[in-house]
């Protein structure tokens, strides 16, 4: 196994033992990028020169015994919807071509402050709208386990980079499953934090009441480390929550005895791939063996989650994306003769088809005469879904579901049918509707393709779900499998 296939905590141990220096890790990552990036398309922009400068500075700190923090010297990839001062931030959209923000997202700044080495910006579905990274205006990313298949989305590039050793850890964003679903498809571990735990300042908005930044890593322990590094109150985000910083790694040594886990039957019904179901149920048995008490429960409103999610997220998106008008930033139409035409031309040329579809859907849902029937109705059902989760969590500590009802699908397979594409998110969107934390961990393989298990927790109970994931990973090796064949988990 090469350095770039190791986890963050393994590398930290090597740093601590002075066996390895940050620039050596970056060398390995850069080598892997040279090897596989062309065929995987994980990155939209690489900045290895800056990264090597940062890595050498980290080397010097380690040699002087003055390392900055958890992430010092760790090569990190960030999704291209996180602003970083001086770096082009495009959200994989034509309309943001050339946009260089004069400021840095709070989460990214926290990484930089702790010495992280940012190697590049990862590919994604345009404006984070999609479940396959095929909506990138630049290029699709490919699943490293089978490049004919999608890596999931929208944080596909981040998941691919981590899975393929093109980064040690990565940041993604999750609005309806955009961290968890690609993590599941790429066989890595991804966590969507509770809404409000991580500042959204500097995250280019898709749907403001759902968006959260979170870690994508090779295991739960790495997610714990990365989450601790980015979480916390930010005065620049009015929806970020005040609270004491939590050392999530400290939460990872609790046995599961006494832990109650709920299996909502609605997530295991029609539409769930049989093989995925088999893998998940085996994983659930594993949790039981670890001491967890598994109970069946019902979340009756699950079937309404998709419309609620798509109506509200599209409505918010239609407003959030109205600012792309070619005047202050971004790509603009050439002809500035007439205002309305300029707007329309700029936006029509700049946005891709899925983004346009969502803007249209959201505009429709908010427009006169439809607000009550669509947007408000969705918000009311949202209330009921939140209540239903709260009720369920009175009986259980965590809820386990598949992350995706299917295996990674083939490129192009669902592009023509938006509804089929939206169905990819059926297991993940309820979590965003209720603002809950959830993690996806690898829990098996079907014909060489990874399957992800989603563990949902109570608000701000990241420690609980990280611990369950970690206990599972202590006795399984799916998370140690690498697509380059370094160590295949399925043979375990």
């Amino acid at each position: 196994m090469e350095l770039c296939d190791l986890t963050l905590h393994e590398i930290k141990d090597l740093f601590a033992r002075k066996e390895v220096l940050p620039s050596m890790v970056l060398e390995a990552v850069a080598g892997r990028i040279r090897e596989v990036e062309k065929s995987l398309g994980a990155y939209l922009a690489l900045d290895l020169d800056t990264a090597f400068t940062a890595a050498r500075a980290a080397d010097a700190r380690f040699q002087a015994g003055k390392a900055l923090g958890t992430l010092d010297g760790i090569p990190v990839a960030i999704k291209d919807n996180l602003c970083q001062a001086g770096k082009e931030t495009t959200c994989a959209s034509r309309i943001l071509q050339g946009f260089v923000p004069p400021y840095t997202a709070t989460a990214v700044q926290k990484l930089l402050d702790q010495g992280a080495v940012i190697i590049g910006r990862t590919n994604m579905d345009e404006f984070a709208m999609g479940s396959s990274t095929e909506n990138s205006a630049v290029k699709p990313a490919k699943n490293p386990w089978d490049p004919r298949r999608v890596p999931g989305g929208s944080s596909g590039g981040s998941a691919v980079a981590v899975a393929a050793g093109e980064a040690i850890v990565a940041l993604g964003s999750d609005t309806g499953g955009s961290i968890r679903q690609p993590a599941a498809f790429c066989g890595v571990t991804g966590l969507k934090p509770t809404y409000g735990l991580v500042s959204r300042y500097g995250l280019v908005a898709f749907a403001s009441s759902f968006d959260q930044i979170g870690p994508i890593a090779k295991d739960a322990e790495d997610c714990a480390l990365l989450l601790a590094a980015i979480a916390g109150f930010d005065p620049l985000d009015a929806t970020s929550v005040r609270g004491e910083p939590v050392d999530y790694r400290q939460e990872l040594d609790r046995e599961l005895t006494g832990c109650k886990i709920g299996l909502p039957r609605e997530y295991f019904g029609a539409g769930l791939d049989d093989e995925v179901r088999r893998i998940i149920m085996t994983a659930v048995e594993q949790l039981e063996e670890l001491g967890a008490r598994v109970v069946e429960l019902s979340l009756k409103l699950t079937e309404y989650a998709l419309p609620v999610y798509y109506l509200i997220s599209s409505a918010e998106a239609s407003s959030n994306l109205a600012r792309y008008d070619g005047i202050r930033y971004g790509r603009a139409a050439a002809d500035r003769a007439e205002l309305a035409a300029y707007y329309t031309k700029t936006r029509t040329e700049g946005f891709g088809p899925e983004v346009k579809r969502r803007i249209m859907l959201g505009t429709y849902a908010l427009s006169a005469g439809y607000y009550e029937a669509y947007y408000q109705k969705a918000q009311q059902v949202r209330t009921l879904i939140c209540r239903e989760f709260a009720e369920a969590f009175r009986a259980v500590d965590a809820i386990v579901t598949p992350t995706s009802p299917t295996l990674p699908f083939r490129l192009g397979e669902r592009l023509a049918d938006p509804l089929a594409m939206y169905l990819s998110d059926v297991c993940t969107v309820p979590v965003n509707i209720a603002g809950l934390p959830a993690i996806s961990i690898p829990c098996g393989f079907v014909r060489g393709l990874p399957v992800g298990m989603q563990i949902i927790g109570r608000p701000f109970a990241e420690g609980t779900i990280l611990n369950i994931a970690h206990q599972f990973q202590k006795v399984t090796a799916y998370h140690r499998a690498r697509p380059n064949g370094a160590e295949r988990g399925e043979q375990k």
Binding site: F99, P102, Y310, R328, S367, Y374, L419
Partner: protein, 97 residues
């Protein structure tokens, strides 16, 4: 909720959103919207009488900021991403009232 979304409605929404579509695209969109909204009509099954809408899942209220001035961006940085700039200002198409 509507049973069918017409091309005319889609055209109107496109105008509101400042997007342009060809006639063929409008027809495709109308069809997609019809299908999507028919699927979403499922929401009508849920009784929401007296249920307050949720705009925020957070319990946070009154997140306010002190009225203290901090430096603005240097003008060059404020303008750096604009497609066109003149006399320290952003250039927009002519606006008449």
């Amino acid at each position: 909720m509507r049973e069918e979304v017409s091309v005319e409605e889609v055209r109107h929404v496109a105008e509101l959103a400042r997007l342009a579509f060809s006639e063929a695209e409008l027809r495709v969109l109308a069809g997609e919207f019809t299908r999507i909204l028919q699927a979403f009509a499922k929401l009508n099954e849920v009784d929401t009488t007296g249920v307050p809408p949720t705009a925020h899942i957070l319990e946070v209220k009154n997140r306010l900021r002190a009225d203290r001035v901090r430096p603005s961006l240097p003008r060059a940085e404020a303008l750096q991403n604009a497609a066109a700039v003149k006399d320290g200002s952003f250039v927009a198409p002519p606006v008449m009232e």
